[in-house]
């Protein structure tokens, strides 16, 4: 191709992370290309729930999710209506006294970091979400958590990047090459720096990456406005999300602005087929119905699956790829890619441009020493 441009940055993958990185790079004045073989925002991004949630599996996870949540809050006024951003808050449900103690500990941890969190007793919980079954002990409300529609959010970032000169290249990456990327159709994309933001497919370009696909199922209902008000998650979700080997399900319900209810979630390792598995779907729905029995009567219209890019320590890989000069990673976000995309972009760009970052980047560097042992709540 004559006079093919040399990009400052070529980003592999137009999921929400790749698109957020593109927006940040273009805003920094860098000539930016995003390479995508499928529909932008159509992979794991489209399969995800779109829950902007603070998670406290580890201090580093807490720092990243909270920082990113604040960045989303800054974006919020600019998000188009189609992004359906809604600050509905998360209710972390406690089944019994044991879980209630965990919820209180969680609240204290949030508050100590300046994150608003309040306790709801059984009565207040029933008033907040009347469809929950009686007998739950209470809940912790994280009022600043939000939900959005991920494909539209990815498109928002991509459109922003393009408005600042970035370019979307539709094509399938074949391999990383000297000074750029080789596409399957023979084209070459010449770039000074390469960012790998291909989620669960990142290992296709760098087989050594500590990323494993973790399959999840979701089901969405028809429209039932006013049926559910908050994202509702059982505290047991933390255990489900934390388990590294076993298939698990947890009650995780989301009210869409459309009035639809999104029902999750399941986590499976080792599954390679994208097919909806009726058995796994059923387990997930039984768990949800255990908390909200009337869900059983709602009309459901679609189930689907997606593959999260899971790392062993539940933290993404953000920074220079070890042993690959000029290659950077922005991948491995597991179930938190939507939440942490803006923070990922900010941290990556800070490293690439040598500018200071708002939070320490060390816990997310790809060459970090893997932490072993139990993480804490």
């Amino acid at each position: 191709m004559p006079n093919s441009p040399v990009w400052d940055i070529a980003i592999i993958g137009a999921g929400i992370v790749g698109c957020a990185c593109a927006a940040a790079a273009a805003a920094a004045g860098l000539r930016t290309a995003v390479i995508e073989s499928q529909t932008p925002g159509g992979g794991t991004t489209a399969a995800g729930m779109g829950h902007i949630v603070v998670m406290d599996d580890s201090p580093a996870q807490f720092a990243l999710t909270r920082y990113s949540q604040l960045l989303w809050q800054e974006w919020a006024p600019e998000l188009p209506q189609g992004v359906e951003y809604s600050r509905c808050g998360t209710l972390w449900l406690a089944r019994d006294e044991t879980e209630l103690r965990l919820a209180v500990a969680k609240q204290q941890a949030y508050r100590s970091q300046g994150v608003p969190a309040e306790m709801l007793d059984a009565g207040a919980l029933a008033a907040a979400e009347p469809k929950l079954r009686p007998g739950l002990a209470g809940a912790m409300l994280a009022a600043e958590d939000a939900v959005l529609y991920p494909p539209a959010a990815a498109k928002f970032f991509l459109d922003r990047a393009r408005a600042q000169g970035a370019c979307l290249i539709q094509g399938e990456c074949a391999a990383l090459a000297e000074g750029g990327i080789k596409l399957r159709d023979g084209r070459r994309v010449a770039a000074g720096e390469i960012v790998l933001a291909a989620g669960a497919q990142s290992t296709g370009f760098m087989p050594g990456l500590p990323i494993a696909p973790r399959k999840g199922h979701l089901l969405i209902t028809d429209r039932y406005p006013g049926w559910l008000h908050h994202q509702v998650v059982e505290l047991g979700y933390l255990r489900s999300a934390h388990s590294l080997a076993e298939d698990s399900v947890a009650c995780n319900l989301q009210p869409r602005l459309s009035g639809q209810i999104l029902i999750g979630s399941s986590r499976q390792y080792g599954a390679t087929s994208a097919a909806v598995e009726p058995g796994m779907l059923a387990r997930m729905l039984q768990r949800a119905m255990d908390y909200m029995p009337e869900l059983a009567q709602l009309s459901s219209i679609r189930a689907w699956t997606g593959f999260r890019a899971a790392t062993p320590d539940k933290l993404p890989l953000i920074g220079a790829a070890e042993g690959h000069p000029h290659v950077w990673l922005a991948t491995g976000h597991e179930g938190l890619g939507i939440t942490t995309a803006p923070a990922t972009a900010a941290l990556l760009l800070a490293q690439m441009t040598g500018t200071p970052a708002a939070i320490p980047a060390a816990p997310y560097l790809p060459d970090r020493q893997p932490e072993t042992g139990e993480a804490h709540a």
Binding site: T39, P40, G41, G42, A46, G82, R95, D96, T98, E99, L102, P151, A152, K155, L219, T221, D222, L235, G236, L238, R239, H242, S248, V249, I263, A275, V276, E277, P278, G279, M280, L281, A282, R283, L285, Q286, R287, A288, M289, L295, A296, Q297, L298, S299, S300, I301, R302, A303, W304, H376, A377
Partner: protein, 426 residues
């Protein structure tokens, strides 16, 4: 726990193809279960009227019953996996286990967008017929029958017989093509067409004529028509407008069956799909008319029962019937002008209220779905997907369970209750 049912051969769909397939397979000594969403067999073409089975369906029903076919009506297949099928009915859920599965899921009408097509009382052609069969009082109502295909005349004759004032039959195909199609009809079909025309005597039949728009405030009041350079309005109570049929391939898609370029389930000469142990007969494999449907049903039934030799006398007849129907349908193919009817402000997706103009800029169906939500509503793109395929040539092939809306509780019964401990180890 869901009720379990099992059979060597499960047939989904109790229309001509499904009835024939079930009867044929059972006559080979197989245990056969025949499922349908309607309480009575007959499918769409032989749809029961006011709770009474039609004569055509009754003949096949008797043959199937004599052969020992177990009939289960009022069951909607909503999800499937290898060897299993989840069925929802008014009272709950059933799981049907199968060794061989015959898909005879039929077809639905192809509905194409034009301004006003979403107004109440704008129905499909077969749609209005089905509603009248289900009790809609049509006597003395003014009805315009429009669109394309052999169904129009049949619908007009039926409606008239029910006392409707059929104002006009508007066939979009040019007069020359309609005449050529009639000339090439086999004698039996020609006789049938002639009888239908007699039954609609006095009703103008205009070829090369189509609906440009439907108008009204809260419901249909009038229709704007076009024929060549002539344009005029017609006041009416109902519009019955369909552009032929499109295959119901969703269940096959869900099970991984390959599709044809015409959006049907691809089959070989024995009606076998690309997936082992799954067969498809009738319109779901491609639109070819009722004779080809039941003939292909017999073939699928015999072949699925392992008695391929019995299909030998049937194959050539099926092929002839298919070819004859396909020739006819090619002549009546929707004209290019129909693509221009839909304005940017015309609704494409009825469930999510997405306009043609909103969906048009996208590269493909998936991208348009993700960014505009067209096809993401309750009908799962059954109506707007087929329209988008006609308008822009998009491939529509990503059926997901449930293939029709199902209670959450139904899908929750696809597995035994799990034993998840309540202990939290955070």
């Amino acid at each position: 726990m869901p009720v379990k049912a099992a059979a060597q051969i499960v047939v989904v769909g109790g229309g001509p193809a499904g009835l024939a397939a079930a009867a044929s397979a059972a006559e080979c000594g197989k245990r056969v279960l025949l499922l349908d969403e309607n309480p009575l067999p007959g499918g769409q073409i032989w749809r029961a009227k006011n709770g009474t089975i039609t004569a055509e369906a009754e003949g096949w029903r008797q043959r199937a019953q004599a052969a020992g076919v177990e009939w289960r009506g009022g069951r909607q297949a909503v999800a499937a996996a290898t060897g299993q099928l989840w069925l929802e009915h008014a009272g709950g859920v059933e799981v049907a286990a199968w060794e061989e599965l015959i898909l005879a899921t039929g077809a639905r009408e192809l509905l194409l967008p034009f301004p006003g097509w979403t107004l109440p009382n704008c129905c499909g052609a077969g749609g209005l017929q089905a509603l009248v069969k289900a009790g809609l009082e049509i006597r003395d109502k003014r009805v315009l029958v429009a669109g394309s295909g052999p169904l129009l005349m049949a619908v007009a004759a039926f409606l008239r017989q029910q006392g409707a004032r059929v104002l006009l039959i508007a066939e979009q195909a040019p007069a020359g093509q309609v005449a050529a199609a009639a000339l090439h009809l086999p004698p039996a079909k020609l006789r049938q067409a002639w009888q239908l025309r007699r039954a609609t005597r006095g009703v103008p039949f205009l070829a090369g004529c189509w609906v440009e728009a439907a108008e009204g405030r809260q419901q249909l009041e009038r229709v704007r028509l076009r024929r060549g350079v002539r344009r005029w309005s017609l006041e009416c109570d109902y519009l019955a407008c369909g552009f032929g049929l499109t295959p119901n391939s969703e269940l096959g898609q869900l099970l991984g069956c390959a599709l044809t370029a015409e959006a049907g389930i691809a089959v070989n000469r024995w009606q076998q799909t690309s997936v082992e142990h799954i067969w498809c007969a009738g319109e779901a494999a491609g639109i070819a008319g009722v004779e080809a449907a039941w003939r292909s049903g017999e073939i699928a039934g015999y072949a699925a029962a392992g008695r391929q030799e019995r299909t030998a006398p049937l194959l050539a007849r099926r092929d002839r019937e298919q070819q004859s129907s396909q020739r006819l349908l090619r002549r009546l193919a929707p004209r290019a002008e129909l693509r221009a009817l839909a304005q940017d402000t015309t609704w494409l997706c009825r469930c999510e209220d997405v306009t043609v103009g909103e969906a048009r800029p996208y590269a493909n169906w998936r991208e348009a779905k993700l960014q505009t939500r067209c096809g993401m509503g309750a009908c799962q793109g059954r109506i707007c997907g087929a329209a988008a395929r006609f308008l822009w040539g998009w491939q529509i092939n990503a059926a997901r369970p449930p293939i029709l809306p199902a209670r959450v509780g139904t899908l929750a019964q696809a597995a035994p209750a799990p034993s998840i401990s309540t202990e939290v180890t955070v």
